[in-house]
């Protein structure tokens, strides 16, 4: 226990300032009212869905949980199921084998809900494109509010996308 405490104290606080929302990432206009956004802004529950990614975007989504980006410090938490989520964070081109699962996950998420597409493949199909096995971008399958480009996008960009989704249009 002594070693653990010593290491925690020596490590100190690593958390950095979060980024600002970026209206450029928005795909469709903010649909939610200010009152709802205020609630989301204080305690947002995210369900992440890998709909066919190479796992690169997942690495960076893990990273937003690390001490530097500390997403939980902003009141944002990843949850284990869609039924208690407010926002879906979707990666990958949507493989045709994941199409039904993604739609069901979307349907299982209660309104009001938001969808953020993470990574080039989720935004436009990326290098995998559309094919016999791939539906391409996420918005081909479910409605998308905000897109975050990058291969993979940095943790800062992912945070920015999430914060944009819950910010009011100025």
């Amino acid at each position: 226990m002594y070693q653990i405490l010593k290491q925690i104290i020596k490590t100190g606080i690593k958390t950095e300032t979060p980024p600002q929302a970026d209206e450029g990432m928005r795909l469709i206009e903010q649909r939610l009212q200010q009152e709802i956004l205020d609630v989301f802004g204080g305690a947002l529950a995210i369900r992440q869905v890998d709909a066919g990614s190479c796992n690169g975007c997942e690495l960076e989504i893990h990273a937003v949980n690390n001490a530097y980006y500390n997403i939980e410090g902003l009141g944002i938490k990843f949850v284990a199921g869609p039924r208690h989520a407010d926002l879906l964070l979707v990666t990958g081109p949507v493989s045709r084998h994941m199409e039904v699962a993604l739609k069901r996950t979307y349907d299982a998420t209660p309104e009001p809900k938001l969808v953020v597409a993470i990574g080039d493949c989720a935004c436009d199909g990326g290098i995998f494109g559309e094919s016999y096995a791939s539906c391409g971008k996420v918005s081909n399958v479910i409605p998308v509010d905000v897109v975050v480009q990058g291969c993979p996008p940095t943790p800062i960009a992912i945070l920015q996308g999430i914060l944009t989704a819950i910010s009011a249009k100025k």
């Binding site: 490590t11 992440q48 190479c54 796992n55 690495l59 990273a63 690390n66 084998h97 791939s134």
Partner: protein
Amino acid sequence: MPIKHPNLKLNRLTDAVPAWTGDIAPEYLHEICQQVRDGGGRLVALWGSDVRQQGGGFMLHITLMNESGLVCLNVPLPVEHPNYPDISRIFPAANRMQRAAYDLLGLYAHEGHDHRKWLRHGAWHSGSFPLRKDFDAAASLTHEPEDYPFVQVEGQGVHEIPVGPVHAGIIEPGHFRFSIIGERVLRLEQHLGYVHKGIEKRFESMSLQQGARLAGRVSGDSTVAYAWAYAMAAECIAKVTPSSRALWLRALLLERERVANHLGDLGYLGNDVALSFGFAQFWILKEQVLRNNAALFGHRYLMDKIVPGSVTASLDVEGKHIIEQECDMLDEQVRILRNIYDEHAGVQDRFIGTGRVEPKLAAQLGLCGMAGRASAQAWDARVQFACAPYDKLDVKMATYRNGDVAARVIVRFDELFESLRLQREIMVNLVHDNEAPTLLEKLPANGFGIGLVEGWRGEVMVAIHTDAQGKLTRVHPHDPSWQNWPLLEHAVIDNIVPDFPLINKSFNLSYSGQDL
């Protein structure tokens, strides 16, 4: 010569690893596989290709490995009935690969005992095969979901827990069917293929350079290993050797990928046994490695840094200094954290004896890579088939016998420290110069090349076939997860359900890499 058989004539490939290729009729396949198996050899990969346009029928390709090197067998199959004898009785790992070869190309393993579909769910009709050159995508698509015949476990008190494809964590999708009594697992059956996104078909429409980018996205956590294996296969066909500076840089990038992944997983292994301190600490270290990657090479995961013929990365004196400092820092910090893990009774109680794969079973079923080494399977491509620059590095292989979560943690720690040592050695050998990279523009016609790289998870293989114009006609990337997923089914037997995430994380296998 790695295999002696009167009907097999092997040709040595001009490759960075010792590799041979040769044609063999289907009727001799069993004898050859048995011979390799009896000699302690293994199955690396099995795939097929459509060579009807070149005047043939179909071709089955099997890569075997023994202590001499790699042997890639080409088995010509007739157009009408492309059947071949099942080899999963000799190499159990062949089972899923054979089923995938049927789903994608219609090559049928007769006498086999398991012909269930594997990579095809309900997205295209049975009887139409995406990797055939005359595949008509528009006419073959379907939206009819098809049932998958899971093995049913019966008996008093037995019940099933279906999990996935969408999992509870931030993880790739796949379906797990647990049959349990109380909280004890009687049987786990995996159903994968959910992230099948047509990677192999995609390669066929790509240039050599585009293909390098795609290879780097087969499994994002192993982008360096795939990009290198792809480049090695291309260089094998073109008979070129990259500059020694490029090779040193490749090894540096590969070891940095290994370090980053082991740091991340060691953090999550702590987290999975309720020591969130482990996650916080290891992910601070991982983030520092990723930030140095971005600063020195322009990408946190080093994507697109290895290209056929060379690398697109460089490192100056200041960069070397940053890496040396990082190695010193990691060495000190990881030692502290290892000591904490070792001394923590709660952590060790969960690690020891959990998810055990006995060495005998590991050998029988072909467990490979990092997980294999934790079950006494002493294979490491950097050691046995040391391609340049590993031939100058004398890699120390980490092995352990226990085969449990604790053993996989020990192997990861040992490999992490070895990677730090290797990076320091590479710093000594890496000479800075301003030489322009000699990129490989085009490949010769009708070529075949193979690349094998020991990624952090295990050996990654990429095979490239070119057509009469030198274009990519077939590319097969092979992930070590093909071999290791079936062992996870064995590792969880008799464990409790709540230990599954821990056991799963200790292997951390790729879905995308095997679903393709």
